[in-house]
């Protein structure tokens, strides 16, 4: 029933799209066959792979740095620094900065090159990962910490035997949110200063009035985002099978 309903929905949407494109200016509203031709051109063209690799590399580099930084900072604030020294958690204030708002500032400070792209992604990934690290650490079963203490565990042993694995299911969920945001922010960040990337190409197609190719790239971003999300959620369920709880 549900499946049949979605098929009907897809057909109706395609028909509407076809109808609208036949009356509208095809520069702005390309028809389904325009899109089909454009995607053929893109998939077999020279720029597609380079654009994909450039954008994904930026996201991955920024992600790995932002992710690591967030976990280290989270551990520091939650487990190393005595709570009396954290009267006001500045990070909780700055996390409300929309990543897009810092794009102009980052470009001012770091130029329009690759560095500024990484920094924007780091900034984007940092906060959701940081918040979930803190939350994960606070949710570790106190009794597991006690059990570990009876073995005479050192602080470092506590971190990698109890705190990190205990918080990991939460952290991974934060990372999942982070990677989603990274995909949306990278498009804006690639507005200037680079010559390859999904975002760069989208802005370029806009200036060429190639709505057909632009739409194909938007679709590509969805595909990549979806694949990344799938990979992370697979990792979540396989590696952190006990879920967001520390009690059996």
């Amino acid at each position: 029933m549900k499946k049949r309903f979605s098929i009907i929905l897809v057909i109706i949407s395609l028909l509407c799209w076809y109808e609208i494109s036949s009356i509208a200016n095809s520069y702005f509203v390309p028809s389904p066959e325009d899109i089909f031709l454009a995607s053929q051109e893109i998939l077999f063209g020279p720029d597609f792979w380079l654009d994909s690799i450039s954008t994904i590399t930026r996201i991955l580099i920024g992600f790995v740095i932002g992710f690591t930084l967030a976990i280290v900072t989270g551990l520091f604030f939650e487990k190393v620094l005595p709570s009396s020294l954290v009267p006001f958690n500045a990070i909780n204030f700055f996390r409300f900065i929309p990543p897009l708002a810092i794009v102009p500032l980052v470009i001012l400070w770091f130029g329009i090159g690759e560095t500024s792209k990484y920094i924007i992604i780091i900034f984007t990934v940092f906060f959701p990962t940081y918040i979930s690290t803190i939350f994960g650490l606070q949710n570790i079963n106190q009794k597991l910490i006690w059990v570990a203490k009876t073995t005479g565990a050192t602080k470092i042993q506590m971190v990698h035997k109890v705190f990190l694995p205990g918080a990991m299911p939460f952290i991974a969920n934060g990372a999942r949110v982070g990677i989603g945001l990274a995909f949306s922010v990278i498009i804006a960040a690639e507005l200037a200063g680079v010559y390859h990337g999904l975002g760069f190409r989208i802005w370029l197609f806009q200036s060429y009035f190639r709505a057909d190719k632009l739409i194909v790239y938007i679709f590509l971003i969805c595909v990549y985002g979806f694949i990344f999300d799938l990979i992370i959620s697979k990792i979540n369920t396989n590696l952190f099978f006990w879920g967001e709880k520390n009690e059996p």
């Binding site: 079963n141 009794k143 059990v147 073995t151 565990a153 109890v162 059996p248």
Partner: protein, 249 residues
């Protein structure tokens, strides 16, 4: 003989909404090495708090807890809700402390402990794949793997069914007989407290204080038929009578 554990005038209060609420008051007792002490009391009598103070998990408000030098840092704990590391296999849970202490005989000791608690075939399972009773066996094996001088059991059998509870009680007694740690078992099950222990302390309701003490001189080895013998019933009656105040509320 030098006592393993001496507790004198222990008090613990908690700050609740700006008010100091006493949980334990004037607790004093001694445990000799290798003794099996059961502690019973109604809910909220601070039984768990007492164990947490002895283990060093919470700081007492006042009073002294003296451990024999050799038993310092050699305390094992088993909690009511198993509290296993869910990301580790059964074997790795038992080996947890040994690995942290870089014990070279970790594999051998772990296998030995798993065999002792009857989980030899379940080493590669994860905690969530086991029944609650089996999980509690893992908890016991993990606590004993470091060969503790003092073993603190915080209502370890209260979440399992009646039959499993009896088998776990017999298991803990046989482990105690072979390894001879000093055991403090907190429970609200009077039958259990008598069945396993050598001495029984009765805590009053909040704030908890020791209001009675019984010596359990029933013969060993004990089996479940014991709980129907006249000696057992007589002892249980006396213990229950010490709860008169709570019972007649």
């Amino acid at each position: 003989m030098n006592p393993e554990l001496t507790i004198s005038n222990l008090e613990k209060s908690y700050l609740v909404n700006g008010q100091l609420i006493p949980a334990l008051q004037e607790i004093s007792f001694k445990a000799r090495a290798g003794e099996f002490i059961s502690i019973v009391g109604p809910s909220g009598s601070g039984k768990s708090t007492l164990l947490n103070c002895i283990a060093g998990f919470v700081q007492p408000t006042s009073g002294l807890i003296n451990l024999n030098d050799s038993s310092k840092k050699r305390i094992g704990v088993v909690f009511q809700n198993r509290e296993l590391f869910p990301w580790l296999t059964v074997r790795e849970n038992v080996a947890f402390g040994l690995r942290l202490q870089k014990n070279p005989r970790v594999e051998k000791i772990t296998s030995g402990m798993l065999a002792k608690v009857g989980l030899k075939e379940f080493g590669e399972h994860y905690p969530h794949q086991l029944s609650i009773g089996m999980q509690q066996r893992v908890g016991i094996a993990r606590a004993l793997s470091l060969n503790p001088k003092i073993l603190l059991l915080d209502e370890p059998f209260s979440s399992v069914d009646y039959i499993t509870r009896i088998t776990l009680q017999k298991l803990i007694v046989s482990l105690w007989e072979s390894l001879k740690p000093t055991i403090l078992l907190v429970t609200h099950d009077i039958d259990e407290a008598i069945f396993v222990g050598e001495r029984l302390l009765v805590l009053s309701k909040s704030p908890g204080t020791i209001k009675n003490e019984f010596r359990i001189s029933l013969p060993r080895p004990r089996n479940q038929a014991l709980i129907t013998t006249p000696e057992f019933v007589e002892l249980k009656k006396n213990i229950l009578l010490s709860f008169e105040e709570e019972l007649n509320q």
